[in-house]
Amino acid sequence: MRIFLLHVMAILWKDIRYELRSRQTWLGMGMFVLLVLVIFNFTFDLRVDNVSAVAPGVLWIAFIFASLLGLGRTLAAEREQHSMDRLLLCPVDRKAIYLAKLLGNLLFIGVVEIVALPIYALLFNVPLPAALLLIVLLGTLGIATIGTLFSVMAAATHARELLLPILVFPLIVPVVISVVRATQQLMAPTVNEPPWIGLLIAFDVIFLSISMLTFQYVVEE
């Protein structure tokens, strides 16, 4: 168990060091999220009375696209380093590789989201309750588990980057529904709502389990 965690940390630390070198990517992703939020102002009529109906959707579209950008970015980094091929040669538990990649993606996307949230609150004039952070974390986890599974698959098999959104979007629909409804609940609570946060946790657990169990089949030669 200890060795497992050591492996995870080692791989994660390697990835973090690599990402810290390329500061332009962080800036690029941050700007992207900001621009998406701004463009929505022109595409939707966001007056005060229907803000709670539209704003959560806007936030999550921005986050989903940012996540896919982030996943695509780590995919490209993998390819540049050819580290996946070398990593697979080592006697490392495949689950450790997956977990390390997942945590790396979560960190990467999470940092961008944390920066974007205050800007979102500012632009749309909405409050930022602490519970929103939990929802963002759970939602990003859901997207990242599926996304990491398929982005590593794409890296290991040298597949096209364009394939990633095509594969990931249909699968994350339940997470998207839950996360947007949970955010809406936070802004404008209604009665008789299913427990979206509980469902989110359930989805995360299910997706994480499947991804960890099937990951080895996707990378083995």
């Binding site: 599974l149 698959m153 394939l163 095509i166 979007f169 529904i177 299910i206 099937t214 089949y217 996707v218």
Partner: protein
């Protein structure tokens, strides 16, 4: 002399393949395909007769309701196709046999075809009944995502070619999908629960004549599915053979 004897004793892999390849009468279809094709034709004729001349006209929806007898079987075969694809893929992961992979790919293709018909018939049924070409009700939405699953599978397999890695990746995709699609169905159900939309299935019980028609139609489509499966399986087998021979020659 000894050297030449030794040389001619060696059989190259190409020669070995030519000697052992199962020719399977390439000019003719396998017997199973002919039988299934014939049965499907009979079944289709029987279904058409039942649908248009035997079943009573629905009181609420009128003549348009008859689309139901083609719409429901396409849903059934689509789901059957997905299940077959997933089971074949999972067994492939345990015991890699390329025939299982051929079954999986064939089921992916045939299932995609039937699901396309499902979406089209669903849309054409919805327009006169509810006045909308599309509604985001749980069944149709889940069907749409299932369609994306099939298309994603076909794109993935086509892009990655005929390798064991490709088969494994396809298997993982099917496994994730088979768990995800029911989850999607329930998510949309709970999401839409607040604003109940139009229901797709005919409410209440069906008269016995309608039940019979539906059963016959389901059986016909299942036969059709099996027929198409045999054909596409043949296609996959031949394509794999051709690819293997290409590799030998090059």
């Amino acid at each position: 002399m000894a050297l030449t004897k030794q040389a001619t004793d060696m059989i190259s892999p190409a020669e070995e393949h030519l000697n052992s390849v199962d020719r399977g009468h390439p000019a003719r279809l396998p017997i199973a395909a002919l039988i299934l094709g014939g049965l499907s034709c009979i079944g289709m004729l029987a279904s058409i007769w039942l649908i248009f001349f035997y079943t009573p006209i629905d009181a609420l929806q009128g003549v348009t309701q008859r689309i139901f007898y083609f719409h429901v079987p396409t849903a059934w075969t689509g789901m059957l196709g997905f299940v077959v694809m997933t089971v074949a893929s999972i067994v492939y992961l345990i015991k890699p046999d390329e025939r299982l992979d051929w079954i999986a790919r064939a089921s992916g293709e045939v299932g995609a075809v039937f699901l396309t018909f499902l979406l089209i018939t669903g849309s054409l049924w919805g327009k006169p009944i509810w006045g909308a070409w599309w509604v985001w009700d749980p069944k149709l939405t889940a069907a749409l995502i299932l369609w994306f699953m099939f298309i994603g599978y076909l794109m993935l397999r086509s892009y990655m070619g005929r390798t064991p890695e490709s088969a494994r990746v396809g298997a993982v995709w099917s496994i994730v999908g088979v768990i995800d699609v029911p989850i999607i169905y329930f998510s949309v159900l709970w999401w839409r629960g607040q604003h109940p939309g139009p229901q797709i299935t005919s409410d209440g019980g069906l008269p016995p004549a309608a039940v019979l028609t539906l059963m016959v139609s389901l059986a016909t489509f299942t036969l059709l599915y099996c027929f198409l499966m045999v054909l596409v399986y043949q296609l996959q087998r031949l394509q794999t053979q051709a690819q293997r021979l290409h590799a030998i020659v090059e």
